[in-house]
Symmetry: C2
Subunit: 431 residues, 2 copies
Amino acid sequence: MKKNSVHTRQAWQKRLERQLRGAGAAWQKIRSLNAAGKKKILHWAAHDLENQARFLLQQNAHDLAQARKFNLSAAMIDRLTLTPARLKAMADGVRAVAALPDPIGKVLTAWKRPNGLRISKVTVPIGVVLIIFESRPNVTVECAALCIQSGNAAILRGGREAFYTNRAIAAIFQRALAKFKMPIEAVTFVETTEHAAVDFLLQREGEIHLVIPRGGQSLIRKVVALSRIPVIKHYQGICHVFVDRSADPVMAERIALNAKVQRPGVCNAMETLLVHEKIASRFLPQLALKLKAAGCEVRADSKAYALMRKSGGLVKKARPSDFGFEFLDKILAVKTVRDIAEAIEHIQRYGSAHTDAIVTRDRRQAEIFKAEVDSSSVMVNASTRFADGFEYGFGAEIGISTDKIHARGPMGLEGLTSYKYVVEGTGQIRR
Amino acid sequence: MKKNSVHTRQAWQKRLERQLRGAGAAWQKIRSLNAAGKKKILHWAAHDLENQARFLLQQNAHDLAQARKFNLSAAMIDRLTLTPARLKAMADGVRAVAALPDPIGKVLTAWKRPNGLRISKVTVPIGVVLIIFESRPNVTVECAALCIQSGNAAILRGGREAFYTNRAIAAIFQRALAKFKMPIEAVTFVETTEHAAVDFLLQREGEIHLVIPRGGQSLIRKVVALSRIPVIKHYQGICHVFVDRSADPVMAERIALNAKVQRPGVCNAMETLLVHEKIASRFLPQLALKLKAAGCEVRADSKAYALMRKSGGLVKKARPSDFGFEFLDKILAVKTVRDIAEAIEHIQRYGSAHTDAIVTRDRRQAEIFKAEVDSSSVMVNASTRFADGFEYGFGAEIGISTDKIHARGPMGLEGLTSYKYVVEGTGQIRR
C-alpha cells in the first residue's frame, strides 16, 4: 500500500543495484564471446520463442486482461497482442540477426607511423545498454537479439502494460544464455514498475554506457533531461517531398502517394509536400484526386488550394501551424515554392532533419538538394518511406537516430559498437 | 553592482539567445564551404596570430595583471602567458589543421540495393559545437581552427582568468571569417562571465549539437549533470603498464620510465605498474634505482616493496587507495601479479579504460591482452604516452574521449563530423 515508503524504495533500489552489478559482470563475459557462440544462443532463443508459444501466449493473456486498466487504445492492444504467427515472425527476426556478420573485432582501419608503431582501430561492444520502451513486445525481442549479437549486455525496461509478456520473452533469452554457459544477466529485465526506477537508472553513469529510449516524445524528453548517460534518441520525423519543375509528374505522384499514405503513422512518412510553382498546375489537380481516393485530407497554401479544392476531397486552407507538424495520419500539408532555394529553406526551417526527398529529372537540382539538405536521409527520386534499417540492408534496426552524435538515421548493429585503438610497437618511447 | 538582479539576468540571457541564433545561421553558411574556402580563412587567421602579436600580448597582459585576483598557481600563469614564440607555435598549429584533408563530403561507404536504390554514407559537419574550457588560450585557437576546418560553428566559453586573451584570439578568427565573406558568428565568443550562462547554454538542445568540456573533473561532472545536449568528455586516465614474465627487462624499464616520468601530469602517463611475479626480482630492483634517479616516489605492494626498498629511493608500502588513483605526479603504484589474468582483472577493476600497455616477448600473451583489455588504447611494447591525436597521425586533437559513444580515445577532425545517407532512385516506392 505504502508504495513510496522509504522501506519499499530501498528494496527496489537494492534490487536495481544488484541487477546493475550482474549486468556489468555479464558484459565482461559476453563481450568476448565469438561469433559462433553468439549465433548458437540466438538460434536457441529463436527456437524457444516458437517452442514456448503456449507459455508466452499465456503471459500475454495476463497483460491483455489488464489492458482496460491501462486505458490502452485498440491500436495499442493490437501491438501488444501475441499470436503464433507473430511469435514465428519474431523468431525469424532473431534468426536474421544471428545471420548477420559479427560486428565485433572488425579492423576498421590500420596504419603504420614513421616511428614504426602499427595502429589499428578495432570494433568493440559498447557495454551495458539500457533500453526504455513502451508496450511493444517485439522491441524486447529485437533489442535482446541485437545486444547479444553485438556483445553488449541489455537492460530492458518495458512498459507496465506489457509486463508479463516482456518478462517471459526476456526469460527465453536468459535460458538461451544459460544453455551456453553465459551469465543470464546479459539480458536483464527490470521488474520494478516504479517510475522512479528509470530516474535512478539514468544516474548510473559508469555502470550503464548507453541509453536508448523508444517511445513517445514525452518519454524521450524526460530521459534526455534526467540522464547523465549518453542517450541516442528519435524525436520527430517531419519529412518533406519536393517536386521540382522538371519532375516526371507520374513518378512524382507515385512517390508522393507512397510517402504519405502507404503507412502514415510512421516517422518516415511525408508530412509536407513542396511543389515548384511551375509544375503545380500540371501536378496538383491530379494528385488531389488520388489523395481523395486514399482518404487523405489536404491542408494547402492558397495557390495549391486553388488547384486542389475542385477534387471533391477534403481540402482545407493551411494554417501556419500545419507546416512543420508531424501529423502521423492521413493529413498532408502542401505548399508551392518559387524555386529549389525556397524549398530547401522551408525544409531547414520546418523539417526535423530526418528524411527529405526531391523528385526531379534535372541532375543539377538533385546535386544542389543532396548537398544543401542536412537531413539524416536525403532522397532523390525515391519515397521517404525507404529510410529504414531493413530497407538500407542493415538486416536489423535498433532504432532511427535523429541525433548527429554516434549514430544518425537508421541504426543497425554498427550503432551498438564502439572501437579501440590497438598499438603495437617494438619498445618505442615518447621523446 | 546588482549582478544577479532580474534585469541583468535578462540582459545576458537575451545576449546569449542572440548569439545562439547567430551561430546557427553562421553554421548554415560554413557547413557548405569548400575545402579551399576553409583553408583561406585558416591561413589568414594564422597570419594574423603572428601579425597582431602586439595586440594579443597587450590583451594577455590584462589577464596576467589579474592573475593574483583569481589565485592562479605558477603553472596556470605559465599556461596563460603568451609570448611571440607561443603565438608562432599557435599559428603553425592552425596551418597544420588547414593542411589536413577536408573531413566533409567524404563518402564513407556506398552500396546498391536489390531494388536499384543507390545509397551512400557521406560525412557532414555536426553543427554548433559548444566548447567549455579553463585558462589555456591555445584551446581557443585549436578549437576555432578545428571547427572551421570541419564546417562546424564554434561557441567558445573560456575561463574568466583568460577572458581578454581568449576574446582577442576569437576576434582574429572572426576577422578572418569576415575577410572571406563568412559570418563571423561561426566563431562565437561568450562574453558573459556569469556561471549561470553555462547552465543556460547546456539546456539549448536543438541549437547546440555537441558539448565538449575541457578541464578538470568537477567542470566535466557539472556539465554532464546539467546538459541536455550530447557531451563528449574526458574523465580520468588511470593507465597501467603490465610487465609480463617474458618481457625484455631493458625494454620494460625504458617503457615504464617513459610512461611514468617523461610527463607525469598528463592523462596518458602511467599510474600503476603491474609486474609478473616471475620477473619481479630481475626487474624491480633496477627500476627502483632509475625511479629514484628520476625523483619518482614508489608505492609498492609487499612483494614489490621488499624488492625495491633497498634502492634508497622514496619507496612506501602501498595503501589500497593507491591503486586506481590518478596521481598526475611523480608517484607510481606498483603491484606484482601471479599471471596475465590477474593483471587484466586489476586493469578492469581499477583502470579507467583510457590506455593500458603490456610489455612482452610472448606473442600469445600479447594477443590475450589485446583482446581482453577494453581500453580506448591498448598498447603492446610501447609507452602509454603515445595515446595522443598527434602521435596517432591525426594531425590535430580536439580532445581525448573516455566515452565509448561517437568518439573514443584521441579525437581529431573525424570526431567533429557526422554523416548522412544519400539515397538515389529512379522512382522507387515502398511496397
